[in-house]
């Protein structure tokens, strides 16, 4: 068969029950994949700059939460009321650890944490507080705003939905 008719047949196949079944199966598989395994998202806001730029695209990989608990320096996706809008933050401390900020520097259990991912910093001060059981402490990488404006803190582990794919 000449090339052009073959391309045309590939792009516009003859309608048949088999084609309908194939398209339906692909559609269902795509729905399940992008609803429950790899949730596509776009970053809105500056709280994770420069690691994740405003407007950048990524996928939230959900199965990671089934096999392991979040660890320090993991970037995680946190659920609010649902999955359409979620928070993207980095874990800096796990349960029972003491977190504090002294003049913009983060201390965990009295030791200053090395944070090569933080480029913008302000002189944040936050008295020591202990992370509760089954909670993690999360913060954005962009610390260039006042402490009141940045949304961060401890959150239950069961609110963590997954991690960015890259």
């Amino acid at each position: 068969m000449p090339v052009y008719p073959r391309i045309k047949k590939f792009i516009f196949p003859d309608f048949s029950v088999k084609l309908l079944i194939r398209v339906s199966l692909v559609g269902i598989a795509a729905f399940l994949l992008f609803s429950y395994v790899l949730i596509p998202f776009s970053v809105k806001g500056l709280s994770m700059e420069p690691t994740y730029a405003d407007g950048s695209f990524n996928f939230c990989f959900r199965p990671v939460t089934l096999f392991s608990k979040p660890e320090k320096q993991d970037v995680v996706v946190i659920r609010l009321a649902g999955k359409k809008i979620m928070l993207l933050k980095r874990v800096v401390a796990t349960e029972n650890e003491i977190v504090e900020f002294r003049n913009g520097r983060l201390f965990v259990n009295g030791n200053m944490l090395l944070e090569p991912y933080v480029r913008y910093s302000s002189g944040w001060n936050l008295p020591p507080r202990q992370v509760k059981k089954n909670h993690v402490y999360v913060i954005g990488d962009n610390r260039g705003v006042s402490i009141e404006k940045h949304q961060f803190g401890q959150t239950p582990v069961n609110r963590i939905v997954g991690t960015p794919l890259w």
Binding site: I78, A81, K84, K89, Q151, G153, T155
Partner: protein, 167 residues
């Protein structure tokens, strides 16, 4: 025979269509979501809003609320019951700080198991600009209770900003 089948098919389609429209637009969950849509439209503000329009808008907002409303904002240590007539001043104060603002609600989780009460978990996103020129973009989880009044309208009886990240 063909005409009879066509009439039956048309009749069945009409009945199914009626139930679909009723379910989509008139069930209680849809009414609750429409109430939130109205609230977001009322709270949103354009830069050219006059004081007269602001007053009328605030009046409409207060009419969406029960006689009293419980407001809880744990991060600001606010836990207070307001009477409906007390709300106009604080709503005006908050809106007056903004030159423009837009509020939207997504991710509804609505529980109607209790008769006459809707318990709603929802994510609210507020975007806008303060009069000082500073941009605002805040997202919070809300837990709201709505109750039906004697006119079968859903009115807000409590609003809580859920503290997802506890500093």
């Amino acid at each position: 025979m063909v005409k009879k089948n066509a009439v039956i098919a048309a009749g069945l389609s009409a009945i199914i269509g009626f139930f679909v429209v009723y379910y989509v637009f008139y069930n209680e969950e849809a009414k609750v979501k429409r109430r939130f849509k109205e609230l977001s439209e009322r709270i949103s503000k354009e830069p050219d809003e006059t004081k007269l329009i602001a007053a009328a808008t605030i009046n409409k907002i207060t009419r969406m609320i029960q006689e009293t409303i419980q407001v809880d904002i744990p991060s600001r240590s606010i836990s207070k019951t307001f009477a409906r007539k007390e709300l106009a001043a604080p709503i005006y104060n908050v809106r007056s700080h903004y030159s423009n603002m837009a509020l939207r609600f997504v991710d509804f989780g609505i529980d109607l198991s209790q008769e006459g009460t809707a318990a709603v978990h929802v994510t609210g996103n507020l975007k806008g600009k303060l009069l000082s020129g500073e941009s605002v973009d805040e997202t919070h989880e809300l837990y709201c209770l709505l109750k039906k009044d004697k006119n079968d309208e859903w009115l807000f009886s409590s609003i809580e900003i859920v503290e997802v990240l506890e500093k």
